[in-house]
């Protein structure tokens, strides 16, 4: 029997039992849709996170900090009383492979313009060095990043500048901005600064390092004076290259320099950790979706065994007309193949729809309301349905259908024609 004819014959069998075939296919549709939705969503999530990393940081940098930036608060590790100061950057600069190291001092503060007030993370940085480190993100859209800034200079992030996203600006270039720390406490103090620059939109979250849309950047000296402390949050190190050997060697040297009390994090390793984490999540989700597909497979097997009993006579007729065992097997496997293909196509479409719906619910896709300065968003997660993912989903749908149909199809092929024809 020619494959084209087998296909036609199998299709007529599927069409005859519409409800049953539909329900069988539905199992495959759900399994495939789950795989496609979950994976395209995680892939979108991964890309959005990776993008932010690549936007926010350079791979040829290290972050040296007194505390582990990835450490979960209350994670069981005893907080150390080790601290670092601005001049520690000078000792880091003596390490081979380091071009320069720049300290970041920061504090949460209340900032007030003529219009309103809000709270933000206020960071003291060396403008020139920070701009060199983050050449793609520490870029002024309005005003400029002065090379020799006045002491009262301040640069603000895009979402602080335009918090409602509607053209009503928090402050403008040349306006003054009052920064207050310890608001309401006896030690409350403030300083009034002049806005010299507004950063272009960075996008996403800065993860605590690198320029942020909600950041407020003063000069290092002003910040140290104002905070009355030269304790640093972290020191960012510019390396000569981003190859692994350099990163590892410099990391070890800096760790030794601080008696292994400081935490040195390379952006590459942070990215790796993130990727590994996402990989694990992805694997877990695939597993769950895979199980639903297996359940669908068992459904197919069940339905096929039932229909085998109903179609015994038909099989007998086919054999009496000269059909070989493999022809009969081919007919049943083709039915499963068709269910797999139809289920795959519908499942991929349903999965894509589901992923988009899901991302819409999470705030992606649709923009609802304006941004707020304190908004820590992961950006818009656009689900990514790659052709590979679609192909793999299709492949698994078909393989599961066909594999679970093997046993019933084999049984059909082994039926004795005389016995089959005697069946009422």
């Amino acid at each position: 029997m020619k494959f084209k004819d087998t296909l036609g014959y199998s299709f007529s069998a599927i069409r005859l039992r519409k409800l049953r075939s539909g329900l069988t296919t539905l199992g495959i549709v759900i399994g495939i849709a789950a795989i496609v939705a979950l994976l395209s969503f995680t892939q979108g999530f991964e890309v959005s996170i990776t993008d932010q990393f690549q936007d926010g940081f350079s791979t040829d940098t290290l972050i040296v900090s007194a505390q582990n930036p990835m450490q979960v608060p209350g994670g069981g590790v005893e907080p150390s009383d080790f601290t670092m100061y601005t001049n520690d950057s000078e000792s880091i600069e003596t390490v081979d492979g380091v071009i320069f190291a720049t300290p970041l001092v920061s504090s949460r503060a209340t900032i007030e313009s003529d219009l309103t007030s809000t709270t933000a993370e206020v960071t003291g940085v060396n403008y020139t060095e920070f701009a060199a480190l983050y050449s793609t993100t520490f870029v002024a859209e309005l005003g400029a990043i002065p090379e020799e800034p006045a002491n009262d200079s301040v640069i603000i992030g895009q979402s602080l500048y335009d918090p409602w996203n509607n053209g009503t600006y928090f402050v403008d270039i040349g306006d003054s901005l009052t920064v207050t720390i310890n608001a309401g406490l006896p030690t409350e103090k403030n300083v009034t600064l002049t806005v010299v620059g507004v950063l272009a939109e960075v996008g996403g979250s800065s993860f605590g390092v690198g320029p942020s849309d909600s950041g407020v950047y003063l000069t290092l000296d002003t910040a140290v004076d104002f905070f009355e402390s030269d304790e640093v949050k972290s020191i960012v190190v510019q390396l000569v290259s981003d190859n692994e050997a350099t990163i590892n060697a410099v990391t070890l040297d800096i760790e030794a320099l601080f008696d292994y009390e400081a935490t040195v994090t390379s952006m590459t390793s942070l990215l790796d950790t993130m990727t590994t984490m996402l990989g694990t999540i992805e694997l877990l989700l695939t597993g769950i979706a895979g199980i639903s597909l297996l359940v669908a497979g068992v459904g197919i097997m069940n339905i096929m065994i039932v229909s085998l009993m109903e179609r015994t006579r038909e099989i007998g007729i086919l054999k009496a007309l000269g059909a070989k065992g493999r022809t009969v097997m081919g007919i049943f496997l083709t039915e499963a193949l068709l269910i797999g293909v139809i289920g795959g196509v519908v499942g991929i479409a349903a999965g894509a729809l589901l992923a988009n719906l899901f991302s819409g619910l999470l705030g992606g896709g649709f923009t609802m309301g304006g941004r707020t300065p304190s908004d820590l968003s992961f950006g818009t997660i656009t689900p990514i349905l790659t052709p590979e993912l679609a192909l793999w989903a299709m492949f698994f749908g078909v393989v599961v259908s066909v594999v679970f149909a093997l046993y019933p199809a084999w049984r059909a092929s082994k039926l004795d024609p005389v016995d089959a024809l005697r069946k009422e």
Binding site: K2, L16, L321, G322, A323, K324
Partner: protein, 231 residues
């Protein structure tokens, strides 16, 4: 062996195993059929008629003895070879055994489809055969839209479309009224006389067997009589 012999049966036995009890459906049957013959097989229910016909139709293998179709020994064939042999045997059953979701022409085409005959060729042959059995205007009717007699005509067309070695019929009129049965047998007569088709028909019906030119009577799995029809 005569070159004209299409079927040669030698001491054929078929034993079924019902649990531990052997059922001797055929206890040693021998006869020959020549091309163009019209043979009827008679006998009481349970005498082994269907068992014999199934073996002639290559649906089953002998337990003992030999059965050769155009010189091919059925007992030595494997399942695939047996299936290929069946593609050259026309079988008509009491219960029509049509595929209900296929229309008349789809059913007639089916043995050719199974044999891998190209679509156009098989469609042409099926149309021709349906015309021949008088169903030229019923080609696209489903079995459920046809009368019993029409269904059996479709079954005859399906049996003949492969240009088989012989036409085997197992109680072909068992489900039809006598008028329709007569029409079907007229058709079989025509096929036998005009095409020279060898016909072996198992029947209870004296009207049917009287048309045959040779009667084989089976009793209890053995040939009771094998004689030329004298009317």
């Amino acid at each position: 062996m005569n070159t004209n012999t299409v079927l040669e049966v030698q001491d054929l036995k078929r034993t079924y195993q019902l649990g531990s009890i052997p059922v001797h459906a055929l206890r040693g049957v021998s006869f020959q059929v020549n091309a163009g013959e019209f043979v009827s097989v008679l006998g009481p229910s349970g005498s082994g008629k269907s068992t014999l016909l199934n073996m002639i139709g290559a649906l089953d293998r002998p337990s003992e003895g030999t059965l050769a179709i155009r010189g091919t020994e059925v007992g030595t064939l494997n399942d695939n070879q047996l299936a290929e042999l069946r593609q050259r045997v026309g079988f008509v059953f009491q219960f029509f055994n049509l595929i209900s979701r296929l229309d008349a022409i789809g059913n007639v085409e089916l043995p050719l489809t199974i044999a891998g005959v190209p679509a156009e060729e098989r469609r042409a042959k099926a149309e021709q055969m349906l015309e021949k059995v008088g169903l030229g205007d019923r080609m696209h009717h489903k079995p459920s839209e046809l009368s019993g007699g029409e269904r059996q005509r479709v079954a005859v067309a399906r049996a003949l479309v492969t240009d088989p070695s012989f036409l085997l019929m197992d109680e072909p009129t068992g489900n039809l009224d006598s008028v329709t049965a007569g029409e079907i047998m007229d058709l079989v007569d025509t096929v036998n006389q005009e095409l020279g088709m060898t016909v072996i028909v198992v029947t209870h019906d004296p009207d049917v067997s009287s048309r045959a030119r040779r009667k084989i009577r089976l009793v209890d799995g053995q040939i009771d009589s094998d004689e030329v029809n004298n009317n």
